[in-house]
Symmetry: D3
Subunit: 115 residues, 6 copies
Amino acid sequence: MSKSKVEEFKKTRDKQNEILAKYANRNQKKFYGLDASTYQSGALDKKTKELLGFTASLVLRCDDCILYHLIECKEAGVTTEELSEATSIGMLVGGSITIPHIRRAMTVWDEDLQD
Amino acid sequence: MSKSKVEEFKKTRDKQNEILAKYANRNQKKFYGLDASTYQSGALDKKTKELLGFTASLVLRCDDCILYHLIECKEAGVTTEELSEATSIGMLVGGSITIPHIRRAMTVWDEDLQD
Amino acid sequence: MSKSKVEEFKKTRDKQNEILAKYANRNQKKFYGLDASTYQSGALDKKTKELLGFTASLVLRCDDCILYHLIECKEAGVTTEELSEATSIGMLVGGSITIPHIRRAMTVWDEDLQD
Amino acid sequence: MSKSKVEEFKKTRDKQNEILAKYANRNQKKFYGLDASTYQSGALDKKTKELLGFTASLVLRCDDCILYHLIECKEAGVTTEELSEATSIGMLVGGSITIPHIRRAMTVWDEDLQD
Amino acid sequence: MSKSKVEEFKKTRDKQNEILAKYANRNQKKFYGLDASTYQSGALDKKTKELLGFTASLVLRCDDCILYHLIECKEAGVTTEELSEATSIGMLVGGSITIPHIRRAMTVWDEDLQD
Amino acid sequence: MSKSKVEEFKKTRDKQNEILAKYANRNQKKFYGLDASTYQSGALDKKTKELLGFTASLVLRCDDCILYHLIECKEAGVTTEELSEATSIGMLVGGSITIPHIRRAMTVWDEDLQD
């Protein structure tokens, strides 16, 4: 995945978010607002929250969610070693069924996001 | 996704169903028959049943199943507002992990299936 | 499960909800508010929405959620035949792994909630 | 769990199955029939099929399903070593989240079902 | 749940772990060793790792795993506010289906583990 | 999927495994080692173990894992009839939500792996 792939992910996501917004009813809009506010820095800092989002996405095995939080982790200053330890927990808790997702995530990390 | 994408989905599905039929044992054939009969109109009408199939597929996060029931919903006369409310329930029950699937579903609805 | 078991469920739930309220931060309170508003009658009527909540809970296999929506279904006027058809869809989509949950749900329906 | 606990499980299950039968519509009855026929000896023997049912139930984390197939495994002649290896695969694939279920399963195996 | 309930959980767990150890093959023993080493302090501190374990357990909806990590969180010095924010992320990502588990977790936190 | 598609899967997997190895910490390396040793022939033969891996992957609905074990099943001598019966169990336990994965698996089996 070239750097443009992360860009491509963001671009597709932005485009689809416009469609979501077009059809979103009142309850969905509230949900999207909650989605944004839940990850804001508070008693836990942004970095910890993004690691939580990343690990939750990993054990639930959603590639798009994993990639989203991977990018957010990078922006929040998560290091390769920290990401690796969060990944270990996800792999242990969620089992080998998570490995294909880890393969794809680390490929993006390796090509676009690492230190 | 152009109108030909829904067609493409149906075409691929039909082709793969032929392969399934080729290898299906007696129990699998019964399962496929049951799959068809379960969604037939009864005490609940077709529309309600397809909304149930759509929402179950959404919380279990299977794109192909979501798309299949989305098309069936359209054919059963589900409106954009009704679909949106079923989607809200799926999003609430299943959480933000369902959002990428909703993005893809609403993109197809927007481009091919809406009123 | 005697009629007092449904009452017991509601009582425990109310008591635990008080504890939830005590610790709920701003985002959690919004989530609980959203949980309530999502099932309100709109383009889809209350009955259909509760059947959606029941079926989503069934395929995700959460006994408490199933029981909650079972009670709500009853109050919304869902008949045994309608419940049975929604259950069929959940069983088909979610597989035999849902059957123990259906056993427990139908036992409550039989003893406390049926027509 | 005393030997009477396995008996208690069977008894509760039989009683609840009577309730299921009372409310089962035509599609549900077909599903229950399919549930029975799928595990019958064929190209794969009964023992292998019950190990498949056990492992599938383990990774999907349903205690009742695990216990049911554990009993069936015993009756089909599965040894402790064979069960242990199937459990290893379930634990590896499904992750540490399966361990509480394995604890409960092996407690029953130890007290009621082992060689 | 009285303080003795946490003790009861630990006691049952210890007893069942003895049974696990009795039947564990070589691969299972390695898995249990890995389970222990993965949560040790490293690039991420113990507190963050336990919050990751708690949140992963929450979205996968395993009461025993949630309770285990809740106790570990407390011992690692997680505050009520921090726990509450991790819970928010789990609730958002995993959806309302996680709420019954949060009810039970916060009841234990309230009665036995809070500051 | 042409024969080169299985090759393509293996090639991509090998390439991504190199990236995994590059970032794997000590715990992850142990997990990968465990992943390999768990499927080795023991009290259960290789064929049975691969059928267990296939069925577990099917009910957890991971295409890459399904394809991996499908290839391993073939190499271990699993026949079309045996695969079909394992598939029936996965379909029954996991429900119709597994069918799209079965469609994709049987397409590869039909084109590249069958007898």
